[in-house]
Symmetry: C2
Subunit: 232 residues, 2 copies
DNA sequence: CTAGATATTGATCGCGTGATCAACAAGAGG
DNA sequence: CCTCTTGTTGATCACGCGATCAATATCTAG
């Protein structure tokens, strides 16, 4: 709007209509059937799903207005309409993905009765390499979070949630005499190892699948469990 | 020069001189005194230094032709002239930074006579937070390596180098009865924890400085050292 | 002192990014 | 059936990216 007359790269100096005719330049943009009119809540959910899938498949870096729009079959301006900014979209998508993973893993672990077996299930699930996509999102997040305080905040929240999930699993398998402080320490140890080992596996470093043995060993000692209690 | 006539954003349809006059459009690009003519080796070294500084200060993501050129006080095309591609520049810069860090830390550790004190010095140096910039480069590298096999290869090389440096330090402090396989296992454990804890610290997660205690505890046990041997 | 070799440059291309906004159209309420 | 709210769109802007190449400027060998 305003400043009239820029069309086709050429400037027509005399034209000062006061308002541009936007369609005049005619560049094909999307060539897509118009998206059906939907309730804001549904559309927001659909865009979130598209963003999550994209991030899992291509990484957080792949979250662009146009890429998310294409995956949802929608104009890029619609994505911008629903997301206040890309920084927020990235942070929210991270939270959704990681939050869902935590809920899923937690549910999977809770289904196991025996505390030792449950702890083992939790650790094994975290390290079996079946969640490389989520691990990739974590690593992307640590990297991007250095430049995005919004994402950094989201990352800290999810790490705290994971920490307490690990503490829960540890407590059930630990002797009652263990204090909260000790459980926190062991949980921090486990979380650091899980994150480190997963980052390593992401670049195909180290013998695959050896991670569980490493962690199980130290956790068994810390919780005074018999050797091999967490590796069957 | 070719395809004539594009100047100032306007297209003069009739002009078909066969060759363009490239300078005609006159857009200010750099406004910088011409860089002194230098030997290729010196210039390459200077550009590498600029790239390393930039990566340490702003992350591997900040490595662009134009950013490196600006820091070196040189035209961006000169950077492109010396680097076969940005992917290579990024991988080489990563290798330089991390390789230098390893050499430095190694030298610092070797200067310590007592094996236990040396091991402690190594671990403390890795975790004291004074190398956040290098940690950032590591995290960026893990993230980018997923899309760059060139960088992934460089990352694996440096991880292997670090692994053996840690093994060296462990061996000196370990009982002679420990086998190579055990030392490898403990080193893998330490490396995973260092990387995990450093990633955590990068987003300000967790109590600062608690990392050394965590690692020292497990290493003392694994090497059959007296409790507190690595924490003074 | 000149001529050749080559280090360095500026311009340009084609593409991708986030953001913005008037215009359009589809469904809901009267 | 018509009106109005609002979900949706296309075009556009200003920017930054890696890469390429003819032209230029400088150093050096003869």
């Amino acid at each position: 709007m305003s400043t009239a007359g820029e069309v086709d790269g050429r400037v027509s100096p005399g034209v000062a209509v006061g308002r541009v005719t936007p369609g005049a330049a005619a560049a094909i943009a999307d060539a897509r059937p118009r998206a059906s009119r939907t309730s804001p809540a549904d559309r927001a959910a659909q865009l979130a799903t598209a963003a999550e899938g994209l991030a899992l498949e291509e990484g957080l870096h792949a979250l662009t207005l146009r890429a998310v729009a294409a995956r949802a079959g929608v104009a890029s301006s619609l994505v911008a309409h629903y997301a206040p900014s890309m920084e927020r979209l990235v942070a929210d998508t991270f939270t959704s993905i990681v939050g869902a993973e935590l809920a899923e893993v937690r549910a999977h672990a809770i289904a196991v009765r025996d505390p030792n077996a449950r702890l083992q299930a939790l650790l094994a699930t975290l390290l079996d390499g079946s969640r490389d996509d989520v691990t990739g999102v974590w690593v992307d997040a640590w990297s991007i979070a250095r430049r995005s305080s919004v994402l950094a905040e989201a990352v800290r929240e999810q790490m705290t949630a994971w920490h307490s999930a690990i503490v829960d699993a540890l407590r059930a398998a630990a002797p009652a005499s263990m204090h909260v402080r000790e459980l926190d320490r062991v949980a921090a140890h486990v979380l650091a190892m899980v994150d480190g080992l997963n980052a390593h596996e992401l670049v195909d470093y180290g013998p695959t699948g050896s991670g569980l043995a490493l962690i199980a060993r130290v956790v068994e000692r810390e919780l005074s469990l018999p050797e091999g209690a967490l590796t069957r």
